[in-house]
Subunit: 199 residues, 2 copies
DNA sequence: TAAAATATGGAGATTATCTCCATTTGTCAA
DNA sequence: TTGACAAATGGAGATAATCTCCATATTTTA
């Protein structure tokens, strides 16, 4: 991914410091209350260094988000390996909501990245989307989930949940409701009628 | 709603000019490429006037969005009056996607307002939510839609679709997919089993 | 260990946002 | 009408955020 240039020792150190500071601020929910330059001070580096490593606020958020997404992608892989496809998908989606609820950082970041024009969500978003795509594909393959809807739709819903985080007082309940709707909507074929309920 | 003070003639004129300019820019998709002060120039008023009428960029977007939402709410009312509840809901949601596709202004604005922290979506959002709430309530009442999921969930999904507008190359197809999923998820009761399908 | 390559900090340039008030415009009562 | 009062205006400049630049410092390499 970033094997371009090996990055000098002090550079890596500073980058880490910046990321650590940003993560803290992000978790505290103050990400937008700070001047961008302040992240430099917080990390004990100069503003030049800040800008060299992360040209924009969004880039910084993206970088923090990256690790978080890696964790979630791993989780998706685990679930895929240990549960029936449909349950894995359900568990993953519910887990996303839990995660956003617990550390609002991710939710907020999703919102930020989405709000930013520019094709953000670059890396992290793609990794997440891939993970979701795999989960859905599994479930389609074993016939528990309809085949006529793209995983992209699921991503869009996830984005919506994240973006709404700070704006809806009853977020948690609504988010759970959305996942329920989504899972029920995904189940079985698009055709109406009725087949013996499996569960 | 805003019967507080009658607003002087020139004030109303300037406000309209500002709104007109903003609408144009919004429709062209340049809303974020402009300095906020530039809206004043575009409307032929001073910056002071701009700030007096719309203290922030978001307030301006909200005001433009307001009329658009009024139109949509009217549409919801019409549909409610002329179609069976479930069809009305479906038609409305599909119509929202059409609308966002045709004039990206609404989609973009939804995204903006959502991105803004502060309890934005103040008026317009509430009106829209009410319209959706009524549509859902009707459908619940006549038994075609499950009763265990709040209309807020539908709003969240709508927000997600709007927010994703600029970020997903295949937006239209995914948005349609989301609506399909949503409608199927909403149909009938949460409990499994099976009741004679009405349609 | 010295030269080359890389990275640093932070002072200021640049750009965007917002405030203030002397002046203009509109309203209303007489 | 008109005069007096209130409401609104515009835009110069204060304030604040973002970003650039480069003389200096650190790391790597040979």
């Amino acid at each position: 991914m970033n094997a371009a240039k090996p990055l000098r020792a002090d550079a890596r150190r500073n980058r880490e410091a910046l990321l650590a500071a940003a993560r803290e601020v992000l978790d505290a929910g103050d990400f937008f209350d700070l001047r961008f330059d302040d992240f430099a001070g917080l990390a004990g580096v100069g503003t030049g260094t800040l800008y060299r490593h992360f040209p924009t606020r969004e880039a910084l958020a993206e970088a923090v988000y990256h690790e978080e997404v890696a964790t979630l992608s791993d989780r998706a892989r685990d679930l895929r390996a240990t549960l029936p496809a449909e349950e894995a998908l359900a568990a993953f989606l519910r887990g996303m909501v839990d995660h956003m609820d617990a550390y609002q950082g991710l939710a907020r970041t999703l919102a930020t990245l989405m709000a930013t024009r520019s094709g953000a969500l670059a890396d992290g978003g793609q990794a997440l989307e891939e993970a979701v795509g795999d989960l859905v594909a599994d479930a389609v393959r074993d016939g528990t989930v309809r085949a006529d809807v793209d995983a992209g739709a699921v991503m869009m819903v996830l984005h919506g949940i994240g973006a709404a985080h700070d704006h809806r007082p009853d977020w948690r309940a609504e988010a759970d409701g959305v996942i329920t709707l989504l899972l029920d909507g995904l189940r079985r074929q698009p055709s109406p009628k009725c087949i013996e309920g499996t569960a």
